[in-house]
Amino acid sequence: MGLLYAPTDATQGDAYRIIFIHVPAAWMSMVLYCAMAMWGAIGMIFNARLAYRISNSIAMTGAMMTFIALWTGALWGKPTWGAWWVWDARLTSELILLFLYVGYLSLYSAIDEPRKAAKAASLVAIIGVVNVPIIYFSVKWWNTLHQGASITLNKTSMDPRMLAAMLIMTFAFWAYAFAIILTRVNYQTLDEDAHSDWVQEELSHLRNKS
């Protein structure tokens, strides 16, 4: 849709097509971060292993989405702004988000004792949540080079064909993230609880299937 059907933008030409990846990835990077911090918080409150596991499974995909948002942003910035990178509020806060993801993941793997690692990493995630509204509102609070939102609930300044393509891509990114994260939680559970009988039973089913 985005590549074949949506019309060429009047001012940006075909470079704007990057939007169909850039915006869904940026949305996911923020949504996944909130989800990761929320499951981390649930894990800390109830001392629940499964909640930590979900939180941890989100981190890798979230970090990837953040990287994609930054990467496509750079490739979009070059032809339209004339620079790969500017120290703009939106861009800088998104970069901080990437560092938060990386910090979470490296803290998790740096501590040997799994429960301690989960607790420490979750704490980082929860504190880092303040960055998400900063990213979201950065285009309003500061005078930034990055443009404001084109899509709001009341009015949308976008061609309906572009909008349709973007909504499909957003839905696809959601579906992808859900599938990947749940699969990772699933495998992580099978891995960590490999000593239990039900896991061995489950694995033998998997073996027969493949």
Partner: protein
């Protein structure tokens, strides 16, 4: 369809390095992630029950 020819589509009116660089790297990363989960599954199913 807004393109007149396949060559025009590939060229993206001159913006092809940026457009395909974005789409390419993103899908490459998705494939890497899917593949890493496949390998994890293989490791899980191949380790013999103790």
């Amino acid at each position: 369809m807004i393109w007149n020819s396949f060559a025009e589509f590939v060229d993206m009116h001159g913006y092809w390095p940026y457009v395909w660089g974005s789409f390419g790297v993103s899908f490459f990363l998705f494939l890497i992630e899917i593949n890493s989960l496949r390998q994890k599954r293989r490791r899980l199913t191949q380790s013999e029950p103790s």
